[in-house]
Symmetry: C2
Subunit: 337 residues, 2 copies
């Protein structure tokens, strides 16, 4: 059935039924929810903590293509990207509002799959979809807002602006796999099946580092960002906000093994500028960083140092200490190439 | 300058500077704000009240046309529409997240005007723009999320589901002017200058009924919705959610004088189904309704009664009690015509 046959209100009702699964008594956030989808606004009991909110747009043929992602994967990824922003603050995500804009001839089954993808990632990370909007549009646009709060009642959060000279620069997980996955899918590259599966999963099914963000906070980290635009680009946000500079040792950057194995010289570029890995990039003292490495359930790698130099400057050096120049510096959505 | 020349991060920085105006110490919401635009998420102190959130999409050539609205008006209207949803809950709007998707050749000056329109309506209603997202897109898409709370600490809110047989049905202000304004602008109709100005203002510069929503709550009203899709369509949302029926006396519907004066027989249709008036439609006992009429600073008109009949049924009668049939029943965004 087409979306146009169901009508806007029919579609809302249909999605509301699916979303109610996430608003039940079993999910923690549902316990504070008063009204979910179906009224003018979502309503819940506040708890006097520090509140967080983030919004993202996912636009067809800009941020995604229906040729490389299934509707279900698209739903997962769109919501995961917003959850990643809450992870980068060390927050606890709780509620999501999802606005879907769709061509009238979209199959309702496809929208259902999209929504199910969102509900899957929502349930995995304790997030209920409580509202949003649907409308007609010439292309698919997914707008997600995620609301969350801090674990404690104080304003203990990870910001971009607390990096200090002497801090180590570190990342969770491996980099470059999402961008490599996109390249594999669009260019129909054939790799070893396990490598192919890893890269596809990295691109289509990213997992926001919610637990890791909270661990960083608990261990005393003050500065973090999620890697959505690319390591270099996202690091530069930290450097500018903190008014510091950084030195990154290229050979320490944890390039995903499947990227290293299949992309030759391009592997470094994918890891530095690929984006969409949704790993956390953070800075902290050597001691705090060591604590994080000890306690994290994922690999955490030190890749460089925060230094006092020209604000925003990133010096990339290789293992011999020689300067290294990347060919790209993150995704600038508007930039003309 | 084009948006593409400024780049995504340049645009964010530019908009953040403008938005800081709304986050200063003079505005009430700013006092609780910890981090606005420029980090991974907006952050503020919760106050243990009941929290509200609503999201809307405004899509070029679906919800608006750049031929009938200036960028500034577009900004005003997009945010006003979301504020209206908070008004319909009787809430106090506090923070907004704005995601802008724009073609790269959009003039930065136009985006600035759009943002200024949002800031104007935000400042008028005490709302700070604290976050969002910008991205490239083949058409202009504005997604607004508004966060608010109840005035008190209890869950005292206006819902769609509390209408009871015996309730009066009433509306704030006048209806039909926004749809008439759209028709005037698209068909280049020439009216008496004052009428023309009223209709244009109604369509381009709607004022969310924030104070009126709070007044309704204070006076004991339990059921309300804002008229975004049209009186008949929005009333039917209340009726379905409350499992009741309604009888509306056509001659009691407060058609805007400028619509009555210039649209002949079509005036009734515009008032019943035109949409985008952003007035509040509510139901309450005769006594509560009288109190609201006495205390409201805008006209409030009783237009019918809630009755116990087939769920969702709306009976339209004229002054002689004869049945009346509208030609349209609200805007169904997806419905094929």
């Amino acid at each position: 059935m087409k979306v146009s046959e169901l009508g806007e209100f029919g579609l809302i009702e249909h999605l509301a039924k699916i979303a109610y699964q996430t608003q039940g008594k079993e999910t923690t956030p549902g316990q504070q929810l008063i009204i979910g989808i179906g009224d003018d606004a979502a309503v819940w009991h506040g708890d006097a903590r520090v509140e967080l909110a983030t919004a993202d747009s996912f636009i067809q043929d800009v941020h995604f293509s229906l040729g490389t992602a299934s509707w279900n994967e698209l739903g997962w990824k769109a919501l995961a990207a917003s959850l990643s922003d809450i992870a980068a603050m060390g927050g606890v995500p709780k509620y999501a509002l999802v606005s879907l804009s769709l061509p009238g001839d979209t199959e309702v089954e496809d929208v259902t799959d999209l929504y199910r993808g969102m509900i899957q990632v929502g349930q995995q990370f304790g997030v209920a979809i409580v509202g949003g909007d649907t409308s007609n549009a010439p292309l698919v646009i997914i707008n997600t807002t995620v609301l969350g709060s801090t674990k404690g009642r104080d304003m203990h959060i990870l910001t971009r602006s607390a990096a200090k000279p002497g801090d180590k620069v570190a990342v969770t997980g491996y980099l470059g796999a999402a961008a490599a996955g996109l390249e594999m899918l669009t260019k129909h590259l054939i790799f070893d099946p396990e490598d192919g599966a890893s890269l596809e999963r990295a691109f289509l099914h990213p997992e926001p580092r919610i637990a890791e963000g909270q661990l960083l906070l608990e261990q005393g980290v003050k500065t973090a960002i999620d890697i959505s635009d690319g390591l270099v680009s996202d690091l530069s946000h930290i450097l500018k906000a903190s008014r510091v500079s950084a030195q990154i040792v290229i050979d320490r950057v944890p390039i995903h093994p499947a990227v290293k194995a299949n992309f030759g010289d391009k592997a470094v570029e994918l890891a530095l500028s690929g984006g969409e890995d949704y790993e956390l990039l953070f800075t902290a003292s050597a001691e705090v960083t060591r604590q994080v490495i000890t306690k994290a359930s994922c690999p955490v790698t030190v890749i460089g140092n925060i230094i006092a130099d020209k604000i925003g400057k990133i010096t990339l050096i290789d293992r011999e200490g020689k300067p290294f120049r990347p060919t790209k510096t993150g995704w600038e959505h508007f930039a003309t190439s």
